[in-house]
Amino acid sequence: MRTTIIAAGVAFAALAASASAALAASSMKTLVRLAPMTIPAGTMEKTIPVNIRGVQTQLLTAAKSRQYDVTLELDVEAERSPQVFYEVYLSAPKGRRYHVGNVTLFGAGIRSEARGEFHPAHVQLFISDAVSLALRKSAAHALEITFVAKGAEGGAAAKPVAALVIHNAEIVAGPRQRS
């Protein structure tokens, strides 16, 4: 009986934590949906404008809130490994760029290396801080997302040898996942 009671206590704690996660999953909200895009092989840098007209307030409120995270959600794939990763930056037009993470394909998302059914790789980048900073001094109705191909340092810059296809790109607000 003692074992059962202790076990129950542990389980309830786990249950409460997971319930929060389930709730979080049900409360995601897409603020901006971008058109699919391709970064061709050989392209070292590509900037994509993001129209945020009508959602600036929501975007900034969520970005500044301690309750929410704003994320850039990407579904990406390549026919074969591009042999680079992409640094991703967010900025207001003509504003300072803020690094929000990388897009890297290794295993997942590479068609020629797929085992069984192929799925694009899902990339989630946390952009709350960058959104807050980018929009701090700007009333812009647009943001920019820039992809910069990157490899090893110290030698000639690595060039992507395969195109990166971005099927879905969304800016999403959801319950905070960071501490």
């Binding site: 076990a7 206590g9 389980a11 909200k29 990763f85 989630q124 090893a152 960071r178």
Partner: protein
Amino acid sequence: MPHSRRRFLKTTAVAVAGASMFDVRELMAAPPFTRLDVGPLTATSPALVSYAKAIKAMQLLPTTNPLSWAYQAAIHGTTISGSHPAWNTCQHGTPYFWSWHRMYLYWFERIIRKMSNDPSFALPFWNYESSSERYLPVPFRNASSALYTSHRGAGWNAGTSFLSSSAVATSGFMPIVPYFTAQGNCEGTPHGSVHVSIGGWMGSVPTAAQDPIFYLHHANIDRLWNAWLKQGGGRTDPLTDNAWKTTKFLFFDENGAQKWMTGCDVLRAAEQLNYTYQNEGTQVKEYCLKVLPWWVFEKELVLQLPPFKLPPGPDPGPIEINIREARQKLLTMSKETNTDITLELDDIEADKQPSVYWEVYAGLPKGTKPSSDSPYYVGNIALFGHGIRDEHQHDGFKPASFEFKVDRAMQSALSKDASGRMDLTLVARGAGTKGGEAIRNDANVTIGKARLAVRRLKKT
């Protein structure tokens, strides 16, 4: 089908330690192993001497031998045609990225121990987060060493290429609390970014594990799993995910015998697998829980509360709950370890997106300043997506629901106050204030159903 919190509650629960699939007693007879930072090591350091010796011996074995270098690499991935047990089973972009690679390294390390005839061998880790370790470790660049391969990107073996700070950054996953999100971001950077930066064999899954540096890279990723967990703050392995806990993966031990492992077998590296990392300190200990079905629980309604509103403007006063008749029962139950007292708020709707969220307090004494550090704080109501009338709903309007565990608050409140009443207090919070101005709700919010309930294990 989207996750439903209620559905989750019905299908989750309790708890006994899971069974291990391999013999821990045999393992623990060996001394504990410390995986060292490769940075200070040289080609004559025992760990690298033994590693190189084992690689040479393994490269002499036929590809079909599970102890061979080629076979071990092929477990991760291979371009060789044909099928052998466990080949091409590495996990990327799946829930098993961290756990599968921990299993893989564990058995690989045992094989190296045998093939080098060094029973004290432990796999070093490549600590590239340190700015002094961004170049390929020197012993791996010596063309006469078994640690060397020419199949690397330009400049690595010459010692001119190095990892960029963005490739090795851990800031993208360390702050994240949910396991799978953190794991996924770690799999991208630093894991994937380091792979593609080195290039050559390392740059592609089917060839990566042929490069001896692969295993030191993955030892570091494995160390980072421990480091992520150690931050606490709600970080935990996915102990409620049955598939994660029970999916079996095949490996080979140092005698070539097949060994199956699950997530439950690799939760505690020191205790279950007998290794630690240099300078990591005490590891977090987590234990597998066996999920029991919802029907072993029973739920009892204790108090039905009247609906209430949160109108625009300053916070309304506390909602007074008469608990006179249920007071003793609630107090007793709040102290029981196999019982949860819950505050359930359902049918919550707002006419528009509120610009605030609400901290919820149960039993907050009058005159006490609400603080999320206090025992009376039970959670937040944050409306986003569900419960907002004026927003487009993809599949129709759905009111929001929240459930809070209130045992601690009940115990604190009822043990101090015998008046038979208890306050439910909702405090609006937001991103900030302008010139000290109080945060105000700007939406009409209705809470249609509210109740206190008890959930406990059924008596058998």
